[in-house]
Amino acid sequence: MKIGLEVHVALPTKSKLFCACSTDATEPNSSICPICMGFPGSKPMLNRAALDYASNVSRTLGCMPAQMVSFVRKVYFYPDLPKSYQITQLQEPVGVDGSVEISSKKVKIRRIQLEEDPAKIIRESGYTLMDFNRSGIPLLEIVTEPDIASEEELREFLGELRSILYYVGINIEKELKVDLNISLSKARVEVKNVTGIRNLVDAANYEIKRQTELTSKGKEVVQETRSYNEAEVRTESSREKESDEEYGFIFEPDLTSYKLPSSNAKVVLASKVAREYSRKYGAKEKTILELIQFDRESYALMDHAKDKAEMQKIIAVIELLKKYESTGIGNEKFEELLEIAKSGAQINAELIKKVKSGQRVETSSVNLQSIDKEITTMIKNHKELLKEYEKNPKAFNFIVGEVAAKLKANPRDVAIRLRAVLEKGFKD
């Protein structure tokens, strides 16, 4: 079995690909202008921010660096396409020949390209509405080779790709739009416009089943384009819209060639990081990957680990932070939380809240009690020494050291308790 994907993902730029219209309007047809409406006389201007995102994805996928990128017109007639051609790429795309590594293999990336999204068609009963807010939104199309050979590989690939996109700063909350090529034997079947990962996996499974059944009955699988019916969880034969012959690509003469911007942004491949940390600190690869695959913050926190034991604590604290849905703790507060955890104290939602809001945190009562108990014993044994503890820091530090060593406690905590006990004692 061979599966190839064409994944379309919207880039999170502030303005559209070829005009200044905002990309996050909600009121239908409120973010439109002569350019994204294709009015006669208007001309496109390339949004460089979209090129930056595309360049970063290209680099992360290990594509050959493109010298220059250029655009073409792809002509087809559909009401959602204001100019009746889409500005996309052909000869000089953003990147070619990259790959995404999954556990069993490298899935090769054939090409990635920038293009404009058409308008949104809203079909009602008896009439159709158009929303041009989406017209001109920058899309990145990522085309794989047909290297995916099972549902597991498909899922793993999608997870990996989404993680890569996440680390490049591309919002993966928006559903991916995917064209799926799937062939069990000779004939290649294309399932167009599948939205979302669940649907994609369902569509693939449906096709695998359908094609297997046909073949086992000795029937031939027809090479065709199909669409996915989400409600009935099945694919359906659809009339082919247009072929390459009819698209009639020409160079986009309103744009020039552009140098791909170079970038020194750090490339993060979460699965690679997980593998590395697992080897280095002995933690479970899967656990680490789950924590950092779509979580920049957890990745940054793990970066602080110095040894195996600390990594274990870090993972435990991150898991607790996730459990209590507490994000944005920051390095300093995380360190504090980590110290508390090391002291053996119980970390709960309230404690996390306290640390985050900068309140003083006493370590857990069980622990405090044992510290207090030991301190009392020490005071009894060294009454004379401690009489003028305020003038005699050496004596104070001696007690702290003794208690901390004996209990393997944090000296800071012991000092806090000792001061409290002494003050109480002298007032009495």
């Binding site: 006669p40 051609y85 012959e245 009819e246 009639g248 020409i250």
Partner: protein, 435 residues
Amino acid sequence: MPTTKPNPKFAEELSKLNKKLNFMSVINSSANGKSLFSVKDNLCVKGFESRAGSKILSGYIPPFNATAVQRMLDSGYEFVGKTVMDEFGFGSFGTNTDIVAKNPFDETRVAGGSSSGAAVATAVIKNHVAIAESTGGSISNPASFCGVVGFTPTYGTISRYGLIDYANSLDKVGVMGRRAADIRAAFDRIKGADNYDSTCSDSKISSTPTKKLMIIEQLMKGIDSKVLSSFDLLLSKMQGMGYKVEHASLDIIDKAIPAYYIISMAEASTNLAKYDGYKYGEQGKDFTKKYNDFFCDARSSFGIEAKRRIVLGTFVRSASVKDKYYIKALKFRTALTSKLSSILKDSFLISPTMPTVAPKIDEAAGLSLIKAYSMDSLTIPPNLSGLPHISFPCGYANGMPIGAQLISSHFNDYALLDFVESWEKSFKYEFKYNL
């Protein structure tokens, strides 16, 4: 900028003459006759119908000004009206549209094309320049037929923002005037980089003179004898002024016409794809129809020449023949440009602008397609290569003006204006109307 006292009756007089010569589709009734500029109908003027000579854009009122128009207005010129043209620029005689401009020297003759109205407006209005546009000769051609100066700058020196596209890689906004100095004044105000046109730059425009005039032998075939004798007279005058006239042979130039038509039709067929009758211009009526049927209905409004170019243009870029036509034509353009540029290193190219004087309107209608397309043989090479060129009146035969065309190297546009300005010191242009 030409200035005179305002004439309160100007708009009225203009309308009267327009009824006779059909050169404007829209007249700005508040125009009073000082520092005027007209705008070819394929350039958007905010609030005025702009339909590029096509029925399919009837009623399209652009919500913005073309950059060239905005810059003219900002410089204090007054907008006088939209000038008629062949539909989307498809034509050499101004006859491929519903309003056919007449030649002011002889109303039975064409004004040329596709900037027919722009040339007539320039020939009849005194204090005026025309903002026009050339793809394959649409400025030189009507300038020659109507006896005015027509200047087409280097590709990419004037913004195309607001130009209703014919063939984007060939389209150039340019200026027509009665004197080179008027053109220079307008050119200086509208040229230069624009945030809304990626192909327009701030390249420095030079004025490098040369005393060498080069004639390409292959281009001198099939030129009318009256045009030839007028051109020869021009050459001998230039020799008298110290210019050297030389001849060069350039075989490949014969392929310029097919290459031009392939590229321009390929691009045009994509530009015209957007006219589907529901967002602007002529509105489709029956929204219950399937999109394909609705679309086909709307597009029946295209004229025959537009339909022809859509069909041919779609063919030459289709996957199975693309290399044979479209890609080959692009390669030819690169080769021709390098050949012409090497000739232009130390000389101007000179030739008559058109092989004949303006033909009669019924004569033009009777021409075969090949003959009609061949009328552009002299204007296509510089247009295909994006080279600056200027057409200026160099003589008259039986009362009809004859034009010569001078071509220079990329961005040496001022040298052309300098040349014509000095020509104007010894040659007086004729005008039949002076509004």
